[in-house]
Amino acid sequence: MSLGNPVLLLTLAAAAFYTLGCRRKFFILPAFLIQAGYMFYRGMLLGRMPIVGPHDTLFFLSASIALFGFPLTFKQENSRPLFYSVTALSLLFLFLSLPFKPHSSPLPPVLKTVWFEAHVALSFFSYALFGIGAVLGAVFLSAGEKRSELLQYKTIVVGYFLFSAAMVFGGIWAYLAWGTYWLWTPKELWTVILWLFYGLYLHARLTSRWTGRPAALLGIVGFIIVMFTYLGVSLLMKSSHSF
C-alpha cells in the first residue's frame, strides 16, 4: 500500500487525531468523524453498508470501539488508563484493516437484505463492547478500581444483548435464505461457544466465588474467544461465514 493511497492517508489522519486525543480529548471527535466519513463514503459508493470482508469489518470494529469506548471515559474519575487502552484497541483494528483490500464487488442477491446488515452491524457493535469490557477488566486488574469492574459488567450486559439480537436476526435471515436457522458450521458453533461463555460470565458474576478478579479475567478471556470467532474461524476454517 503506497503513501498516496487515500485509505492509508485517512487512516494515518484518524490515527494522528486519536493520538492527539491522548493529550486533549477534543481530538477524538475529528478522528471518529474521519472514520465515520470514510464508511459513509463507501456506503454511498456501494449502495449498502460497508460491512463485508476483513477490511470493512475491521474498520467498522475500530469505529465501533471508539463510538462506545470514549463516552465511557468521560464518566471515569481517573480516565487516563481506560482512555489510552480504548485508543490503543481502536487503533489496532484500524491498522489491521489496512493490509486487506476493500470488498467493492456487488453482493450476491442473498446478502441484499436488512436482516444481513442488522446481523453483521449488531455483531460488530457487540464485539466492540466485549473488547471494551476486556479493557475495563484489565484496568480493574491493574489498578484495582471497583468501578471499572462494575462498568465492565454493564458493558458486557449491553454487548450480550446486542450479540443475542445479532444471533436472532442472523437466524431469521438464514431461515429466509436457506430454510434453516442453524447450520452445523465451525462459525456457528463458535458463535454459540461465545454466547454461552458470556452467559457463563453473567451467571458466574452473581456468585461470590467468581466476583472481582475472576469475573474481570473472564471478561478478558471472552474477548480472546471473540477474536477467534471473528478472525480465527473466518480465516482458518471453512464456513459459510468465511471471508
Binding site: 456487488p106 458453533l189 461463555f197 452467559g199
Partner: protein, 248 residues
C-alpha cells in the same frame, strides 16, 4: 427423600449453572476442533441431527451426545431456578424487574425446544427445476415451475432471480407464488427455496425443499429472550448492582 432434597438443592444452585456451562463449553470446544477435520460431519447439512447421530459411530458423536445430556441438565436447572425465583419473590414490589430474567430463561428454553424439534423432524432435499418441472410435496400438493427469471447488471453480474410457481392439488390450481432471494414460498409446512439460477442454455434453478419444525419456536424464543433482556436493561440501567448478590 434426602436424595431428592439434595438433587433439588443442586438444581436450584447457580453454582450448578456455572459448572454445567463450563462443561458444555469444553465439550463444544472439542467438537469445533474435530468437526472441520472429519468429512462425516458434512452430512449434518442434509440430515436431522438425531438421524445422523444414531447412524454415525459413537467415537465421532460422543461429544454431541454429551452436549445434549448437559443441555438437558441445564434445562432442569433453568426451570428449577426460574420457578423458585418467581415463587419466592411473587410478592415483591418491583415484580417486572424480577420477572425479566425469567422471560430471558423462557426464551432460552424455547430456543432449546426449537432445536429439539428440528433435530427430530427437519427435512432438506435439493433438486434442479426447469420451466415446467413438477415438484411433488409430501402433503399431496404439486408445485409447477412456470417461469424462471434472472436480472443481470450491465457488467453481467446476477443481481437477482425469481421463479413463478403454481400449486396444484388433484389437478386444480390452489394458489400461485413467486420465489425470490430471501423470499421463499411456503406450502403445507414446507418451504421451497431457490438457491441459484442459470439462464443458459435454458433456464434452470437449483431448488431446495425444506421443513424446519422448530422455526416458530426459535422465533418465539428469540423474541422472549430479547424482550426479557430489553426489560432487564431498561429497569437496571440506573441501578448499581454489586456483584455476588445471589445465592450460590
Amino acid at each position: 427423600m434426602d436424595l431428592l432434597k439434595k438433587a433439588l438443592k443442586t438444581f436450584l444452585s447457580l453454582k450448578t449453572t456455572v459448572w454445567l456451562l463450563l462443561v458444555l463449553l469444553v465439550v463444544l470446544f472439542y467438537g469445533s476442533l474435530i468437526m472441520p477435520s472429519r468429512p462425516e460431519f458434512q452430512e449434518l447439512y442434509t440430515l436431522p441431527l438425531f438421524r445422523w447421530l444414531t447412524g454415525s459411530p459413537f467415537r465421532l458423536t460422543w461429544w454431541l451426545w454429551l452436549s445434549i445430556a448437559v443441555l438437558s441438565l441445564i434445562t432442569i436447572n433453568t426451570l428449577a431456578c426460574s420457578v423458585d425465583s418467581v415463587v419466592k419473590k411473587r410478592g415483591a414490589r418491583n415484580w417486572l424487574l424480577i420477572i425479566s430474567p425469567q422471560v430471558v430463561h423462557v426464551g432460552f428454553l424455547f430456543i432449546l425446544l426449537a432445536h429439539l424439534l428440528s433435530s427430530y423432524g427437519s427435512y432438506k432435499g435439493m433438486a434442479y427445476a426447469y420451466e415446467g418441472s413438477v415438484l411433488r410435496l409430501p402433503g399431496g400438493a404439486e408445485a409447477v415451475f412456470d417461469r424462471i427469471k434472472t436480472t443481470v447488471d450491465p457488467t453481467g453480474y446476477v443481481t437477482g432471480w425469481s421463479a413463478d410457481i403454481t400449486y396444484y392439488r388433484k389437478n386444480r390450481v390452489v394458489t400461485r407464488d413467486v420465489i425470490r432471494p430471501n423470499d421463499p414460498s411456503f406450502h403445507d409446512g414446507f418451504g421451497i427455496y431457490v438457491r441459484t439460477v442459470r439462464q443458459s442454455p435454458y433456464p434452470v434453478a437449483l431448488i431446495e425443499l425444506s421443513r424446519e419444525p422448530g422455526a416458530p419456536f426459535a422465533l418465539a424464543g428469540g423474541f422472549f429472550f430479547l424482550m426479557g433482556m430489553s426489560l432487564l436493561l431498561l429497569l437496571k440501567a440506573r441501578r448499581e448492582e454489586p456483584a455476588g448478590t445471589l445465592r450460590e
